[in-house]
């Protein structure tokens, strides 16, 4: 068990492409940290550098206080779970799990005991003599975990370990990964592109984009206080709504109407040197059916009327989708998020909006509805550089 420190770590390939730029992360002993970002953001490269499977071009990597840049993977004492599981097909489950111990020349009785223990934790005892080809996806995944935990390494590295499982099993395994990590208390670095996994699993989340760290923080903090447009759009499902707005005399003019600046927003904006044109960010849950909001609360927000395009009932809530007239918010960050989500080519002019409203709402698809939102929850971003102007750091 040990802390892992990435000190200005950079990865540049021989052809000049920079995969990871100046990454600074301090991972505490026993912490569960998530690297998250769209494909190509450098999260896997970062993990591979910690593992020792890729060289570090510049900067320093310390595990347990020691510089390990030049050490081979086998001398770093860390275990890794691969996306594809990478089980040895010619070995049984038992042999797979014993392999790291055999290489470490551990004596037979200890190997036997450790494999038994790990198998018990992972509920694999009855499968020990089977070959990986005869196991289900979830079992293979557990064997891969078993191979990692069996030698009690300083840290676990997990490279999208759940992405090959089907949706239901993934949710189940997510909980067991979390429980296992708590139980073992081993420092864990977990890579995923799934923001739900990032939100639910980690003690802290590192959001990456284009090889650079965007923000590091606890999941809830990232959700409430995204440092920039990218983090705001990436974390949260459904994603935050972005509406272009302009700041005029302490009022935000937007397609949703004029939004008064509350004291909180005003004080945060003061030091931020906000430009005139901004992007207003609103989480779907900060909307509500206006008829269900009582009058005292109602005055703290803005009510607008628009036609409901699609209404999805989730049972506990309803998701209402609107399209507003006017320009869509544009910035490099949002374009990248759209490309990652595959929605870049989806036609549709104007601004689209998602609101999570109460299940008791009487809004009807295709008919206008009065929708209220909380003006105090508004986040404002600079469209030029994506910075959150209302960031409370």
């Amino acid at each position: 068990m040990a802390e892992i420190v990435l000190d200005n770590v950079t990865k540049q390939y021989p052809d000049g492409a920079v995969a990871v730029r100046d990454v600074d992360i301090e991972i505490a002993d026993g912490e569960f940290i998530i690297l998250v970002g769209p494909s190509g953001c450098g999260k896997s490269t970062t993990l591979n550098m910690i593992a020792g499977l890729e060289d570090i071009t510049a900067g320093e990597l310390r595990i347990g206080g020691e510089r390990v840049n030049e050490r081979a993977p086998k001398d770093r004492d860390i275990a890794m779970v691969f996306q594809s599981y990478a089980l040895y097909p010619h070995m049984t489950v038992k042999e797979n799990m014993a392999f790291p111990l055999r290489l470490a020349k551990v004596d037979d009785t200890t190997v036997e005991k450790k494999v038994r223990d790990a198998a018990e934790i992972l509920d694999l005892t009855q499968h020990l003599d089977r070959k990986p080809s005869n196991l289900s996806g979830g079992q293979r995944q557990r064997v891969a975990m078993g191979r990692a935990i069996v030698r009690s390494p300083k840290a676990f590295l997990m490279d999208e370990p759940l992405s090959n499982l089907d949706a239901k099993l993934r949710v189940q395994m997510r909980t067991s990964v979390s429980r296992l990590q708590k139980q073992l208390g081993t420092t864990t670095v977990y890579v995923t592109h799934d923001q739900t996994e990032a939100m639910t699993l980690g003690d802290r989340v590192v959001v990456m984009r284009g090889g650079a760290v965007q923000q590091i923080g606890a999941p809830q903090f990232l959700y409430d206080n995204p440092a920039n447009l990218f983090v705001a759009g990436f974390i949260g499902s459904p994603a935050m709504n972005f509406v272009p707005a302009s700041l005029e005399n302490g009022v935000l003019r937007s397609a949703l109407g004029d939004v008064p600046l509350t004291d909180r927003v005003r004080s945060l904006l003061e030091g931020a040197e906000a430009p005139r044109e901004v992007i207003m960010g609103l989480r779907p849950e900060h909307f509500e059916d206006a008829r269900l909001v009582d009058d005292t609360v109602r005055s703290n927000g803005v009510t607008f009327t628009n036609q409901v395009d699609v209404l999805e009932s989730m049972g506990s809530d309803k998701f209402a989708y609107f399209s507003l007239s006017g320009e869509q918010a544009t910035s490099a960050e949002l374009a990248e998020l759209a490309a990652d989500a595959g929605s870049a080519d989806v036609p549709g002019g104007g601004v689209s909006l998602v609101a999570r409203i109460s299940a008791t709402s009487s809004a009807v698809e295709g008919e206008p509805a009065d929708i209220w939102f909380d003006a105090d929850k508004v986040q404002l971003f600079d469209p030029g550089n994506g910075r959150n102007l209302t960031y409370r750091g």
Partner: protein
């Protein structure tokens, strides 16, 4: 041919059986014919009967009583085994490098080996003859082993690199993470998985060396290194009026046996889908 879902009707089974028998008979008929010839006596050789009327082992006794054939058999086995071993060892290393590493000149190496594989061998016979005479390799074992390795290597590299490419790269990374040195990773993870490929290649290379006639007849002149296919062509009867057909048939049967044994021995190891279950997808 177990049928999908296991529901194989009798009619379907019968159709398959008939078809299989037809194919096997068609493929094996010439072989059976030569086996039949090898058991016939001199008098009944030309009688056109598929099943010999009089069975005899004389032909076999004759060929094994001559040093000509026995010596050729020893040459054949020795030369083919050595050439196969060397070609497979070098082929494995080269194929692994081609499949896994990026090194300068990789494309050139692949190109050149392809070129060698496509080169008509007959065009090389005269230069090889001259070179080997100049170097004193003519009519020696190395004189045949070297050209065999040269022509077998491209084949070996091609087959093996296809096999190596199928072994997931992540297995090697996993082995590294589990604490293996590159040598251990190769020995304990990659080599066992590549085994079917290695055996397949060994069989192909062995058959190539074993069957070669062109080099063997051009680069040998005495029993010192003459291989069986060539020795066969030099068979004569005990007098010039005697027909060596029976002996040739017996010898042909005998030289088929090592190939059959070789294939049967290694067949068990060529299990398709050995890597299934390693990685998903």
């Amino acid at each position: 041919m177990a049928g999908i879902g296991g529901a194989v009707t009798t009619g379907r089974k019968a159709r398959w059986t008939v078809l299989n028998v037809l194919v096997v008979v068609y493929a094996l008929f010439p072989v059976l014919w030569i086996v039949s010839l090898s058991f016939k006596t001199k008098e009944t050789l030309g009688d056109g009967n598929f099943i010999p009327r009089e069975w005899t082992f004389d032909n076999y006794k004759t060929i094994f009583s001559t040093t000509e054939f026995v010596r050729a058999l020893v040459n054949s086995i020795g030369i083919a085994l050595i050439a196969t071993a060397v070609a497979v060892v070098f082929g494995t290393m080269a194929a692994y490098a081609i499949a896994r590493l990026d090194f300068p000149g990789k494309r050139l190496l692949i190109g050149v080996s392809l070129l060698i594989a496509m080169f008509p061998q007959i065009s090389l016979v005269s230069p090889l003859f001259e070179i080997e005479r100049g170097l004193g390799l003519f009519d020696t074992w190395p004189g045949l082993i070297l050209p065999y390795i040269t022509f077998a290597l491209p084949l070996a590299i091609y087959t093996l690199s296809a096999f190596f490419r199928e072994i997931p790269w992540e297995l090697e990374k996993a082995a590294k993470m589990d604490g293996a040195t590159p040598g251990q990773a190769f020995r304990r993870v990659i080599a066992p998985l590549a085994a079917p490929g290695v055996f397949t290649t060994a069989i192909l290379v062995f058959i190539f060396c074993w069957n070669d006639f062109l080099f063997a007849i051009s680069l040998t002149s005495t029993e010192a290194s003459r291989t069986v296919p060539v020795a066969l062509s030099f068979f004569t009867g005990s007098s010039q009026f005697e027909d060596p057909t029976g002996s040739i048939a017996a010898a042909a049967v005998v030289i088929t046996i090592p190939i059959i044994l070789f294939v049967l021995f290694f067949q068990r190891r060529i299990v398709a889908g050995l890597t299934s279950g390693a990685v998903k997808g």
